[in-house]
Amino acid sequence: MAVYIIKRFLQTVLIMLIVSLITFFALKVLPGDPAVLILGTDATPDSLALLRESMGLDEPLTLQYLNWIGDALRFDLGESRYFGGDVTTLIGQRLPVTISLAILSVGISFILALIFGTIAAVYRQTWVDNLIRLLTQVFSSVPSFWLGMLGLTYLAARNGWFPVTGNFSASAGLLVNIRAILLPALIMAVGEVGILIRQVRSSMINALRSEYMTSTEVKGLKRPSAIIKYAMRSAIMTPVTLASLRFAALFGGTAVIETVFSLAGLGRLLVVSVEQRDMMLLQGIVLFITAVVVMISFVTDILYTQINKTIRIGG
């Protein structure tokens, strides 16, 4: 096991290394002088030279990369040109919204998937299963920003069920904050639920076929309680793994929904960095998000094998 963890860890470090190389060198192929981009074309040669020196742009690329990655490891991602502040601080400010949004929507879709995936598995190959299957396709095909605009209009502005602009603040209570992001989270969950339902369905089918399910029948256990007590318990692992990977994916995929609901999250910050051509900010966010995603998949992997092992030993 220890060998596996070390191997997997080294692999994670390697992936992070490649990601950082892609992020850094991709942006270096940009035509034009970054100093000119920052100061404008009418800047004096002296001030340009000064800025180049302070940004280390005269140094060789490999050294620039090493400096950047070394700083990043100390949580220093440089300065944002557009906001004029520390990139790390900016990310820190936007983080709570995005994390809560991702957790809430994965949570909602996971619960729904557990219910409908189990139903589909139990009634496999009947019209119920086919209907659920078709619906998962429909849900996965709805554009979230479109659904968001409709939800914002009908459920928030016209009915007042949800706040129109959900602003997240530490001073407000937990419930107020949840309410602020509940509608966007629900809409993201619609897009997520399809893939999870399929996963729950297929692992439930496997669980229902297993020997212990036959023995529960022999013992005279009622089928619904047998499904909930035994089948679900063993079928839940793969979907849990998938859910945590979906969380990671959502973490980088909130740009659209945050734009619709004007939430000040990481995704919105990312869009602004591209719009404003703020390279340091973009580099920082991309590196941060991918680092989180890679770490989550590492931890998920380790936990999954660990739990699988215990299940095997215990069972």
């Binding site: 390697l14 992936i15 992070m16 490649i18 990601v19 190389l21 892609i22 992020t23 991709a26 942006l27 192929v29 940009l30 086919n130 299957r133 078709l134 396709q137 429909v138 996965s140 095909s141 709805v142 554009p143 920003f145 479109w146 659904l147 605009m149 409709l150 914002l152 209009t153 009908y154 502005a157 399929r198 369905r201 297929s202 089918i205 496997n206 990671a248 994916a249 959502l250 973490f251 980088g252 995929g253 740009a255 659209v256 734009t259 619709v260 990312l270 869009v271 960095s273 591209v274 719009e275 051509r277 390279m279 973009l282 991309v286 998000i289 991918t290 995603v293 890679v294």
Partner: protein, 281 residues
């Protein structure tokens, strides 16, 4: 032999409603695409006296916030749908297949290197990679194709790589090798036939994904730019007025859903038919 397999499947499946629905949707989309070349209505013509018109004979889907004909704009958007959807996936498919095939037959060092880069590309979640590429190349329809195309590379590289590796162990490949065929010949004439159905299946679902990404990027203002029409762009432009006139987002949103759903349903049916797997095992 092939005939019996087809017969057995036909008996088992019967009428495939999902496939029918998918084909139906895509036919509508193709119809709209063709319409954009037939119609004489200018999709960019402003008519400020006829803003937010309802559905009528003159404007079957009404007019938008600038008085432009919505049906014509939706039809023109289908050009972006096909250019970006099919173009980007083809690009990703070709690059991915080359990388995966080379990695499959190359020495261990090159194999590791190539597949590590592919793993690195996978680590970028959602549209992050596309946004990074748009930052570098700038927006516009061609750059959107490239950005989404690169996003599509990893899945095709992995698929080609695993198929090559899997087949390399098989007897017929060893036999072909003993006849003196080069690695390149073996991959192209003996392994690609096995890869093809997998690629076709993946292609259809990838197109659905690519269209959704294009719409998202255009919605964020980072994809297709005016005067080109795009469903995502239509929704972006409608955003200001949606609270008062929510009906103006219906045509573009429903069309986008029909396109994506159509490709998804066909992809799903192909998955059953060509690969004969249904997540059962």
């Amino acid at each position: 032999m092939e005939q019996t397999i087809v017969n057995a499947q036909a008996k088992k499946k019967g009428f495939n409603f999902s496939l029918f629905l998918g084909v139906f949707f895509i036919l509508i989309v193709i119809g709209l695409f063709i319409w954009s070349f037939i119609t004489s209505v200018d999709p960019t013509l402003f008519d400020m006296t006829n803003r937010f018109d309802g559905w009528s004979m003159a404007h079957p889907l009404g007019t938008d916030q600038f008085g432009r004909d919505v049906l014509t704009r939706v039809a023109y958007s289908m050009r972006s749908v096909f250019t970006v959807g099919v173009g980007s996936v083809l690009l990703g498919l070709i690059i991915g297949m080359i990388i995966g095939s080379i990695a499959g037959i190359a020495p261990t060092f090159i194999q590791r290197l190539l597949m590590s880069v592919v793993d690195g590309l996978i680590a970028f979640p959602g549209i992050l990679l596309a946004m990074l590429i748009v930052f570098i190349l700038g927006d516009g329809i061609e750059n959107t194709v490239v950005a989404i195309g690169i996003m599509m590379v990893p899945s095709y590289a992995k698929l080609s790589y695993s198929t090559v590796i899997e087949n390399k162990q098989k007897l017929y490949v060893k036999a072909a090798k003993s006849y003196g065929l080069s690695n390149f010949q073996i991959v192209v004439s003996h392994i690609y036939p096995d890869l093809l159905p997998k690629i076709v299946t993946q292609f259809t679902s990838s197109v659905a994904g690519a269209i959704m990404i294009e719409a998202s990027l255009s919605f964020l203002g980072l994809g297709v730019q005016p005067p080109n029409a795009s469903l995502g762009l239509m929704l972006k432009e409608a955003q200001k007025d949606v609270l008062l006139r929510p009906e103006i987002v219906i045509p573009a949103g429903v069309s986008l859903m029909i396109v994506v759903l159509g490709f998804n349903l066909i992809g799903d049916a192909l998955n059953d038919k060509l690969l004969n797997r249904r997540g059962e095992s």
